[in-house]
Subunit: 498 residues, 2 copies
């Protein structure tokens, strides 16, 4: 049976993915510096073997033959995802991929060298090459997928989401934020004038912070028999669903950035741990995409862990692990002053949930024009500066380092990825609203440190669905409607203007 | 060019070996328990891919064609090792390997269950199956390799060593040890009567022991930019030459067993780190075999780190890391009383360097008869008991747990491996004698913590040779003669009877 051939292939590919994923984790967490060259060589070899196996020409025949086989409904959906995955993997010729990988590696290396000095001029030629290749890629994919070029790129990260729909919710959100942010900042200033934020009683030992983080991960539902928490320079959630490897980094001067980072990654980890085990070797068994994944991390970080109800439960836990002196005499408002702090800034990764979407929308708008061909790579600094001034009142024209050179995405050729961050934030708010509709006691549960209800909802509506649905279908099935901006804007108003 | 095809294949196999090795390390060091099933699945898939690639029929043609190509002398030797490796990999049919793997897995699992109670009777049927398969394997290999059946098994672990040569040095050693051990024990008793061994001033913190171990590894030449030390239940030296992963385990009641274990594994690690980088993806670039590897670990552990000169240097280092109180008032003799402790015992892995060879010789003699077919699996406990009584004056007839059931090797089907341990110990002594001939100040160097001379000798004579020579050739090139028992017996006399 051809479906059996696909199933067998899936097991081989899963083993290679397992190896690649774990070698990546080890590289970030354990590997000594001198191991890097051989590790890179091994990983690139494994990636080559993976591609050779996953994109083999005979697979097209297996897929076509399997269509005529007597398959269960589940197998039929699995077959669709086998096909989607195969088509996306084979859109580009090996020759094109080689050219692109080589250009991306050089551009990213150059970016690492030039970014500290903000040397846009010397970076520009490499960036122009990357943009040209991205345009070429988008056209190659668009032809096969019958999508617009930018849609074809977004499809890689967020299957089923389309520019026209994203633009609709982003426009509504942008309009909202332009008036909301000044109001929220004003409200924050008033609160601060009345009750100035208390400084952290540093230092906080790394050992205690780790125990605190692990205690909260456990309470929120992370299964430590199928995962662990380590330290790496750039925090991530990696590994495989049966063995989720999360990382964080600690500073002793405060505990909140590491803790919130851990809680964010825990959201990713719960999604992975909650995927159906029996489909683990099929494309259908994987998490749906970047936006869906980000919806799960932001659900935990923004909807749950920055919720005032959460801190009613968390403050005693925090005192238990860090000691009473850590937040001696702090009220709920004192901790929320840190947890809900908002500020206009230049850097996306440092942004809070209110200003973050404007960083993303700016990039989404520029990407659309870059891929569409009506903006040249060389004109990016000007448009970036103009939008930053318009959206956040900040100029980056003399500071490309903190402007278009701040992110690794474009230098490494990842166009179409950025929208996922804000789509995920909006999806999380919409999911939270759905949870609240089903269970009006959800805040009470959280106040008591009981997270099983929200996890049950997510297991049923998100995790167990894996990649059986497109992102918009997943949202409709889970919440009754496709993505709407109103849940996220309502969430922001409730949190920052109340 | 066909040699280029072999070279390319080597790089792919190296990547798979890299993945398998690191996944194995991660499993022992980092993996949470629940990750085990998928890890086993992934590793077995990767092993299957490796075998499929490495044993592909077309490789025979590449090797034959490469013989007629214009190769450098190095490439010619590399080609020989490609061939040796390919022949050994393809001696057995896939069907036979499948039967064997399945029997081994079941037998090893059964052994783990039955060993604690020493239930030989229930284990016997599985063991008989394993012995029969080992006989079959040895015959299949013997036919291809034109060796005797037991030689064909030894060839897997120690290329070039032959039973007739091993038997010669083992017989000499056995004869020596029968009279030596009573004398050495008597000498030890006299020393102890005069100066009773001081107890350890426990507890010793794990953190301090780790720092001590790492300081000694570094002093001895371990390159921490290409390796690291971790903790696992069973200590090992794994990873790849560019990234050597060593492990140990600690007890707080004494520091010596962990430290000596670390120094032993450091010997393995130095060998791996010293292999020529440019051959890393060729069979010729690998360490020569188990006996050669053990010679390197035992060189560091027995010749260097149990040398009185070593402790002249090491005692202050020990005090620096564990604190003065750790060995307060201890003289060199006090530490040597622990480092040179010998005792007749039932368990091979707990044995000292003087009694250990008798454990190995016993197994070598039994294996010869088992594989030769003149001993039945069911008769092993009797012959084991008889030999233990003869060699060490201990009976195991009522205690199969600490008799033939003590090791994992036979239950997992590894026949021909045991001799490597004692061959390695003898090789190490012979190498040490060669070092001393070239540099009469070697003990002075060690007394000063200067290990560069002995490492230079080993880099030149052992590490850089990788698998360009067979084990006997390697010894002859390094020391001027093939393996002799006299260096090891002289070493024992000097250490234990002086």
């Amino acid at each position: 049976m051809s479906f059996t051939k696909l199933d067998d292939l899936g097991r081989k590919l899963e083993a290679l993915e397992h190896a690649q994923s774990m070698l990546g984790v080890d590289e970030a967490v354990q590997m000594p510096s001198g191991g890097g060259d051989k590790r890179a060589e091994a990983m690139s070899m494994l990636a080559g073997m993976y591609h050779e196996m996953a994109a083999a020409p005979e697979i097209a025949g297996w897929i076509a033959e399997a269509r005529n086989e007597d398959l269960s409904d589940t197998q039929k959906v699995a077959l669709n995802e086998f096909e989607r995955s195969y088509i996306n993997l084979t859109c580009l010729s090996s020759d094109f991929v080689r050219r692109q990988v080589s250009a991306r590696v050089r551009s990213e290396q150059l970016w690492r060298t030039l970014r500290p000095a903000g040397n846009w001029k010397e970076f520009l030629p490499a960036f122009e090459g990357i943009v040209n290749l991205a345009r070429e890629e988008s056209q190659l994919r668009a032809d096969v997928l019958k999508l617009s070029p930018y849609d074809a790129l977004i499809e890689q990260y967020d299957p089923g989401s389309r520019v026209v729909d994203i633009a609709t919710v982003f426009t509504e959100l942008k309009t909202f934020l332009k008036t909301f942010i000044p109001k929220a900042l004003e409200a924050q200033a008033k609160r601060r004038a009345k009750n100035p934020p208390k400084p952290f009683n540093a230092p906080f030992s790394i050992e205690k912070q780790k125990a605190l983080g692990e205690a909260m991960m456990k309470a929120i539902g992370f299964d430590f028999t199928h995962g662990r928490l380590d330290v790496s320079h750039h925090p991530f959630c990696g590994g495989v669903p049966s063995d989720v490897r999360m990382t964080t980094r600690y500073t002793t001067s405060e505990f909140l950035s590491s803790l919130m980072g851990i809680l964010h990654e825990t959201g990713h980890g719960l999604y992975e741990q909650g995927l159906p085990k029996e489909w683990a070797h099929w494309p259908m068994g994987k998490a749906r995409g970047m936006a869906a994944h980000e919806s799960q991390s932001l659900f935990v970080e923004m909807q749950v862990a920055r919720n005032p109800a959460f801190w009613k439960w968390a403050m005693p836990v925090l005192r238990e692990h860090l000691g009473d002196a850590a937040i001696a005499g702090w009220s709920l408002e004192d901790i929320l002053a840190h947890v809900h702090r908002i500020e206009r800034g230049l850097i996306r990764v440092d942004a809070d949930e209110a200003t973050y979407p404007l960083h993303v929308i700016l990039r989404f708008e520029i990407e659309q024009q870059l891929i569409g061909g009506n903006l040249g790579a060389k004109d990016v600094p000007e448009i970036w500066d103009a939008r930053m001034k318009e959206y956040l009142g900040l100029s980056t024209i003399d500071n490309p380092k903190d402007g278009p050179m701040q992110d690794v995405h474009w230098p490494s050729g990842a166009f179409g990825y950025f929208p996922s961050y804000t789509l995920g934030a909006m999806m999380a708010a919409q999911q939270w609203a759905a949870v609240e509709r089903e269970n009006s006691n959800v805040s009470d549960d959280i106040r008591k440190g009981n997270f099983s209800g929200i996890n049950d909802w997510r297991r049923k509506n998100i995790w167990s669905k894996a990649s059986t649905l497109s992102t918009p279908e997943l949202m409709r099935a889970a919440t009754g409607e496709t993505l709407q901006a109103k849940y996220f804007t309502a969430h922001l108003k409730r949190r920052y203007l109340a």
